[in-house]
């Protein structure tokens, strides 16, 4: 630690707080996660590979990652529209909608799952009319997709909103006085300026959706290879007493999660360095 610390620094407490941080981080996060990796080494590489590439696992990962990706895409588009409406326009209930964006953050996932299922089941308020149109939502991959959209909304909105608010109005005016149409201003100036925030929001929504369990299992059909998400497969493997399988899937998901978060942090740093003028 003393290597990390400045030789002498004005502000006190580096050793203490850094020590506390690293200790606590190790106890709560690193050691338990390391345990996961150690457990996975019970498996030979070939075994690990077999588990991870078995059809069931691959399907579950594909469903989790694929639907999360799709949901994150929807959130990217709709989140941008929501942010635009909230930031740029005044309309009745704007403040209310602004506050309500955070509901998926704060609402327990199980409650969300139960509520979404009730809403989209064939007898539900939205499920019934959709069923009449021949669209089944609950207990299909579409249901998973809906739940993932639900939990992802605030990530996109909350990362993009401050950036759009802080966006210098002058760059739009500059573009206008250079002869750009509104369409050109939006697509060539505003959206590119929002790109780092959009990517960050997208990645966060994606990462959260991939790992999501509570709100999804109620509404997912949980059919193997069709609507079985990776976290559920872990739970199933556990109740089959197949710890190794559960661990192997968990390791894959963990690595991906780490990569995403690391990328997001780099992205934010980069955006900050771009912003510092």
């Amino acid at each position: 630690m003393s290597v990390l610390a400045p030789r002498r620094s004005t502000l006190p407490g580096f050793g203490l707080t850094m020590g506390l941080t690293l200790t606590w981080l190790s106890l709560i996060v690193l050691i338990p996660l390391a345990g996961l990796f150690v457990r996975s080494t019970d498996l030979s590489l070939a075994q690990f590979w077999d588990i991870v590439t078995s059809r069931r696992t691959l399907s579950a990962l594909k469903i989790s990652f694929g639907l999360s990706f799709a949901a994150a895409c929807v959130n990217l588009v709709m989140g941008t529209i929501v942010v635009w409406a909230l930031v740029r326009y005044r309309f009745p209930g704007r403040r209310l909608f602004d506050a309500i964006v955070d509901v998926p953050f704060a609402l327990p996932t199980a409650v969300a799952g139960v509520a979404l299922t009730a809403l989209f089941a064939q007898k539900g308020w939205l499920g019934a009319p959709l069923a009449a149109m021949g669209i089944k939502v609950a207990f299909t991959p579409l249901g998973i997709f809906i739940a993932m959209i639900f939990i992802g909304i605030p990530f996109v909105v909350r990362t993009v909103q401050p950036v759009l608010i802080d966006l210098d109005p002058e760059i739009e005016e500059a573009a206008a006085s250079l002869g750009a149409s509104r369409w050109h201003i939006v697509t060539k100036v505003i959206l590119p300026s929002l790109t780092p925030a959009l990517l960050t929001g997208f990645a966060l929504a994606f990462a959260r959706a991939v790992g999501e369990y509570g709100s999804v299992i109620f509404i997912a059909g949980n059919l193997p290879n069709v609507s079985e998400i990776a976290p559920l497969l872990i739970v199933i493997r556990l109740s089959e007493f197949r710890y190794a399988d559960a661990t192997a899937i968990a390791v894959v998901m963990l690595v991906v999660a780490f990569v995403i978060i690391f990328a997001v942090n780099r992205l934010q740093r980069w955006a900050q360095s771009q912003a510092s003028t």
Binding site: A85, V101, V210, G211, P231, V264
Partner: protein, 300 residues
């Protein structure tokens, strides 16, 4: 401040012709049709995906009247779940608060290599599947886990008891306070602290008299979100709880259990409590955000 700018610039539809042509030509405004379309889309999207599920919870909870609702909440099992949930939330918020403050101090007030990496590690639980968060503790403390045999020899129960549930919750809510504080403290810099030190204040005096008052809204904000998530965690707790009725069921677990026992009113009643908590959190958060903004001097 830019909000006000937008406010000023948004056409107010006043009747004069010059103002009208201004509205038509404001370089930062879209045509009315586009505007209406965007607002409609945004409202529809939020209504379907966020508002309706929330409404469902309350409609179902009060579907059979207030009496049924209240009696559902009066059930001892509900009480036990509420107590457990509050206890777990208190412990996780408390520990994560101390940790969050320490981590934010170390990260924002000093320079050291590997900062991004450290922040990434702190963020990690954020995107780890809750199921995995539970699993790691099973692997660690389970009877077949690394520490299981030792724990059993010493008669220590971690899994399927309060400590296990608390640990899993702490893990899941680990980044919340730190995340709320790091950007805030980064923005505030170290000058005020340096000023305090050069005026003769000790480290603790500096922290309590200068740093803490400046970040108090941020702290509260982090605590609120941490608390909401701690009370609402389902996946991780589900793996380590053991589901012992009246003992290790938290509120979200009880929601599922009651749901599975055909006790829809009771189930949604507990759910509505949690939803209410979420709403209160959001209201408090909205108020806080305004305060945080108010604290930031915009003028230098």
């Amino acid at each position: 401040m830019s909000i006000e700018m937008t406010l000023q610039r948004t056409p107010d539809g006043s009747a004069r012709s010059l103002a009208e042509s201004a509205a038509r030509r404001d370089p930062r405004a879209e045509p009315a049709i586009v505007r209406v379309a965007i607002i409609t889309l945004a409202i529809a999207f939020l209504s379907i995906f966020v508002v309706l599920p929330l409404v469902v919870v309350f409609v179902e909870a009060f579907g059979r009247g207030v009496v049924a609702y209240l009696s559902a909440l009066a059930d001892p099992e509900a009480w036990s779940a509420i107590r457990l949930t509050l206890g777990v939330a208190a412990v996780s918020v408390g520990t994560n608060l101390v940790f969050g403050l320490a981590a934010a101090w170390a990260i924002t007030k000093f320079d050291f290599p590997g900062k991004t990496f450290l922040i990434t590690l702190i963020d990690l639980p954020f995107s780890v599947s809750p199921v995995i968060s539970g699993l790691v503790f099973v692997l660690l403390f389970g009877a077949q886990g690394f520490l299981g045999p030792w724990l059993q020899d010493h008669d220590l129960q971690i899994l399927f008891a309060f400590p296990g549930i608390a640990l899993a919750t702490i893990f899941v809510t680990f980044p919340f306070v730190a995340r709320a504080l790091i950007p805030l403290m980064q923005e505030q810099g170290t000058q005020e602290e340096e000023a305090a030190i050069s005026l003769g204040a000790s480290g603790l005096q500096t922290f309590f008299r200068v740093t803490l008052p400046n970040i108090k809204w941020g702290v509260l904000y982090g605590v609120l979100l941490c608390n909401a998530r701690a009370m609402g965690e389902f996946g991780a707790v589900s793996v380590v709880s053991g589901h012992i009725r009246g003992e290790t069921n938290t509120m979200p677990l009880l929601v599922e259990i009651l749901y599975n026992e055909y006790q829809m009113v009771a189930s949604f009643a507990i759910a509505s409590l949690l939803a209410m908590l979420a709403l209160i959190t959001l209201i408090a958060k909205t108020i806080l955000e305004r305060n945080i903004d108010g604290d930031m001097p915009h003028d230098d």
